[in-house]
């Protein structure tokens, strides 16, 4: 496992492509509104085209945060709070999504036993480098890396 990054570091994730099937499958389950399900209806909507549910983007970004922190020697356990999340622009079919994570303060307290809190600022970006969403969150990080790795 890599040496944990220094405070105030910035980490970048891999990229995930959001295809139409994934967008529609998520929306059908959790956000069945026309602009997330049907291209024609979406073209007439405020978004102007078929785009992912904002909750889909949030969940995907959190997966990328988890993988990036784990890959950087920080045993991610769970996101515990989001003080702010702003959706800045829609994410359309076949956009490539990645996250840029700025590490903030480490907090001693966490509601999950065996963890401490880590503040993060997350920019969710598309392949053009545009920020499609911004999130300020706290994640629980295991105090004992072995325990997280063993699980």
């Amino acid at each position: 496992m890599a040496t944990p990054p220094l405070p105030n570091s910035t980490l970048c994730s891999d990229t995930i492509a959001l295809d139409k099937n994934a967008i529609v499958a998520f929306a059908a389950r959790f956000d069945p509104q026309p602009y997330h399900l049907d291209a024609d209806a979406a073209a007439q909507s405020i978004f102007g085209g078929l785009c992912a549910s904002g909750w889909h983007i949030a969940a995907l970004a959190t997966r990328l945060v988890s993988e990036t922190l784990l890959g950087s020697g920080m045993p991610f356990v769970q996101m515990t709070s989001v003080s702010h999340l702003k959706w800045l622009q829609p994410t359309f079919v076949n956009e490539q999504v990645s996250v840029r994570i700025a590490l903030g303060a480490m907090e001693e307290e966490s509601r999950i036993a065996g963890t401490h809190g880590q503040a993060i600022e997350v920019d969710v970006c598309n392949e053009d480098g545009a920020v499609v969403a911004k999130m300020t969150a706290t994640v629980a990080i295991a105090r004992d890396p072995k325990r997280a790795v063993a699980s």
């Binding site: 998520f26 389950r29 959790f30 956000d31 069945p32 509104q33 026309p34 602009y35 209806a41 007439q44 909507s45 405020i46 978004f47 549910s53 904002g54 909750w55 889909h56 949030a58 969940a59 995907l60 959190t62 997966r63 988890s66 784990l70 356990v77 769970q78 996101m79 515990t80 709070s81 989001v82 003080s83 702010h84 999340l85 702003k86 959706w87 509601r111 999950i112 036993a113 065996g114 963890t115 629980a140 295991a142 325990r147 699980s151």
Partner: protein, 166 residues
């Protein structure tokens, strides 16, 4: 028809203090595992055996599954209470959330009840036709413990000037 509807009222007609119970959902082990396979594919999030010895002491729902289900319950609720309103006219998108907390684990078999209350109408006009409705949203489990809360700003269309359309 009286005006219990969320979708067929203009921004001006949605009062601060209005409260709705969107409904309840019982989370199965299968849906917890399936969500995690896509959004949190670590063994402790997808495999009950692995999860047993971990921080969570058993399989728990991904936080975003708990929140995404709020969205589904809201959409279902609006469909029931806004039948026939399908022009999308006053059906705005979410813009931002604040103070989202997940307080307690949600485990297979737990039932959450989702509530919604309009708490503010920030004084903003967006793209000339939209206002913002700020709501506080909460989820309670079958023991009446609050397991999640957040505030969200959602666009609502303002009544056009000179409109007689109620």
């Amino acid at each position: 028809m009286t005006t219990l509807y969320l979708r067929d009222r203009w921004f001006e007609d949605l009062p601060v203090g209005e409260f709705h119970v969107f409904g309840s959902h019982t989370f199965s082990e299968l849906e917890i595992v399936e969500f995690a396979q896509t959004f949190d594919p670590r063994p402790e999030a997808t495999d009950p055996e692995h999860a047993r010895g971990n921080h969570s002491q058993g399989l728990v729902a991904s936080p975003w599954l708990i929140t995404a289900m709020w969205m589904r319950k809201m959409v279902d609720y609006m469909e029931v209470y806004a039948q026939g309103v399908n022009d999308g006219r006053r059906n705005g998108a979410g813009v931002a959330i604040n103070d989202l907390h997940w307080f307690e684990p949600v485990r297979p078999g737990h039932t959450l009840t989702y509530t919604y209350e309009i708490i503010a109408k920030p004084d903003r006009v967006i793209r000339e036709k939209w206002g913002l409705i700020r709501s506080r949203n909460e989820a309670f489990n079958q023991y009446s413990s609050k397991v999640m809360q957040f505030e969200i700003d959602i666009l609502a269309e303002r009544r056009p000037v000179n409109s007689n359309d109620a």
